[in-house]
């Protein structure tokens, strides 16, 4: 053999078809006569749809009117958005007293602020933020939304929530400005950095106790007017039901999935039975069971309100679906990971919590978010058992006298609203996946 090429071949630029827009068009849309025909046909269909939607929804539509008759006077072929606009408050908040709506907005704002540190790279203690939001926020929000008298337990939880929120915010500020956790900041301010760990911990616990006592004293006099759950409705109710469902379905699902894979036969049989029963029944049946049958099994005088029953049903139903998602994720983890954890002496919970779950959850994100989206949409079924969630509200517009028979517009509006929420969730899950897999490629 002789030398084939003595010099290194220099790179040449790629052919035009690989880089230019025209090249791309030619290759993908107009490569043959048939392909060109298909492209033109598809463009025509898209044009028909888009111009129809534009004409109905925007060009000929009425945005301001007193009733449906005025809409027709303006245009016969356009949408009557005036009805939807007139009902916007009802769609979002149901029949919640108008002067109390700030409480719902305030609750939403609290949640957004509480969760904000989770997205901030510099803030420390994210796990604690996540745990406190799940443990304490529901009680604070629950009181904020329903109001009235607080029982002792409720007082303790509300106090806990206030303290946790304040600490969280302070921690966020020290994290953003000083790049350190609140605990480290306090120790530094008190110049106790050299003190032994135990002293530092005692100081922090003392401060926590003082804060708790102060918040407890303050909240005794803080009351908001009671609002019956029957007045809750609209998107607010949908988000309450699905929010609680989402927050509790995942932990519930993890517990059920671990139960199903347990080595203890009774735990395994019970978990499997529970999962299979709930999974093989439609949600609407579970909802009816919860509201009509469940009270029959309870002792006399034991009354749960319908909303609580519905929420319990939604949680159980979705925990069972989530359990199967989690189980699939667990099965994707190779046996070697369990053995690796075994050889460094980790027990069952250590193995699951530190090694298996973090890996499995990452694999499960698309399915988990899929379930969450399903859950959000499924909660509209509660309108069938008489709760005025967003779907219930949208459909009552057509029964309101000025807007009698207005079906299409509210439902289209609802569809757009759901699309925005679900699509953001889906986009966010994609972002999360990319972010989590960036660190360690297999």
């Amino acid at each position: 053999m002789a030398i084939i090429k003595a010099e290194k071949t220099p790179d040449r630029s790629a052919p035009v078809s690989e880089t230019s827009v025209m090249g791309w068009l030619h290759k993908n849309l107009f490569s043959s006569a048939f392909n060109t025909l298909l492209t033109l046909f598809t463009l025509y269909i898209i044009y028909l749809t888009a111009s129809g939607v534009y004409g109905w929804g925007l060009r000929d539509a009425t945005f301001a009117a007193e009733n449906r008759r005025e809409c027709y006077d303006y245009s016969l072929t356009g949408a009557c958005w005036a009805g939807v606009i007139d009902w916007l408050d009802n769609i979002f908040y149901g029949r919640y007293p108008r002067e109390e709506i700030w409480r719902i907005n305030f609750g939403g704002l609290l949640l957004a602020l509480w969760m904000a540190p989770l997205w901030m790279g510099r803030v420390k203690g994210k796990v604690l933020v996540g745990v406190t939001v799940v443990v304490f926020y529901p009680f604070l929000a629950g009181y904020l939304f329903s109001g009235g008298d607080k029982g002792f337990f409720m007082q303790v939880m509300v106090t806990g929530a206030i303290v946790a929120f304040a600490i969280n915010m302070a921690n966020m500020i020290t994290g953003l400005t000083k790049n350190m956790g609140l605990n480290a900041f306090i120790i530094q301010m008190l110049e106790q950095g050299k003190a032994p760990d135990k002293t530092q911990r005692n100081i922090l616990l003392l401060l926590l106790a003082i804060a708790f006592a102060a918040a407890f004293v303050w909240q005794v006099n803080w009351t908001v007017e009671g609002v019956s759950w029957t007045k809750w409705g609209g998107l607010f109710l949908t988000l309450v039901i699905s929010g609680i469902g989402i927050a509790s379905a995942l932990p519930g699902g993890i517990i059920l999935a671990l139960g199903r894979r347990s080595k203890l036969p009774i735990v395994r049989v019970l978990s499997t039975g529970f999962i299979e029963v709930f999974r093989s029944v439609p949600l609407i049946t579970v909802l009816f069971m919860a509201t009509t049958m469940f009270p029959l099994f309870m002792p006399e005088g034991f009354v749960l309100n319908k909303l609580v029953q519905v929420i319990i049903a939604v949680i159980l139903f979705n925990a069972c679906y989530m359990a199967e998602t989690v189980r699939a994720g667990l099965q994707a983890i190779p046996k070697g990971q369990f053995e690796g954890a075994h050889t460094i002496g980790l027990g069952y919970w250590g193995t699951m919590g530190l090694i298996i779950m973090p890996q499995a959850l990452k694999h499960m994100i698309p399915n988990i978010v899929g379930s969450f989206i399903g859950l959000l949409k499924d909660t509209t079924l509660v309108s069938i058992i008489g709760l005025f969630d967003i779907l219930g509200m949208l459909r009552s517009i057509s029964k309101d006298v000025p807007w009698l028979g207005l079906h299409k517009e509210p439902l289209v509006f609802g569809a757009i609203l759901f699309f925005i929420i679900c699509f953001s969730m889906s986009k966010y899950s994609r972002h999360l996946e990319v972010k989590l897999s960036a660190g360690h490629k297999h």
Partner: protein
Amino acid sequence: MSDAQTKGQLASAISSEVMIEINQMNKWYGAFHVLKDINLTVHKGERIVICGPSGSGKSTLIRCINALEEHQEGDIIVDGFKLGKNLKNLDHIRTEVGMVFQNFNLFPHLTILENLTLGPVWVRKMNKADAIETAMKYLERVKIPEQADKYPGQLSGGQQQRVAIARSLCMSPKIMLFDEPTSALDPEMIKEVLDVMVDLADTGMTMIVVTHEMGFAKTIADEVVFMDEGDIVERNNPDAFFGNPEHERTQKFLSQIL
């Protein structure tokens, strides 16, 4: 042949203290009899190499020693603790026996340093700063301290296996088990792992190694154990084992691989 392997047999560090004692142990996978009447005594500081054809039960034997597999009959006593239903004993044995696998089994979602400190911090309840110090010490011993902040997926096979060895050492085990540690590696990476293992043998660690690397076996082994179809067929010092195998199955095996 590596430098360490060519320098010849390491000095023996065997003490009279018994580390592992296996008496009349039997194991079945379902109806299949994998291990038959196994008797094996390993002293402190002793280095045993187990070899044999695939399916002979070598891996299963060492997996029984750290309770990854259950045995059905007979006794296994590790560091004075009897393996069995007693969960306390089991916890003790798992922390005192380190194991290195063919496929490394590192935790892919944690950095190298986190892989190494996880056990000391969560199981040994060690202070985090101390755990990191120990981890860096062992990473230096396996010659890859500069990889501490990477993830396992970013390392070569040989590096991953050295991390796996360091991970076990961080738990300061009394016994180290190696289950074909070089079988999944590319040829040019085998040497770096074997060198680390020879260094480890030099420190007087009690080791049981399942391997097909016969040069390595000659260098470090105090005894070579040959297994076939669930039996321990022959046990001898390396010179006698390789120079003058007694059993005909041993002779046949050696003639096939050497």
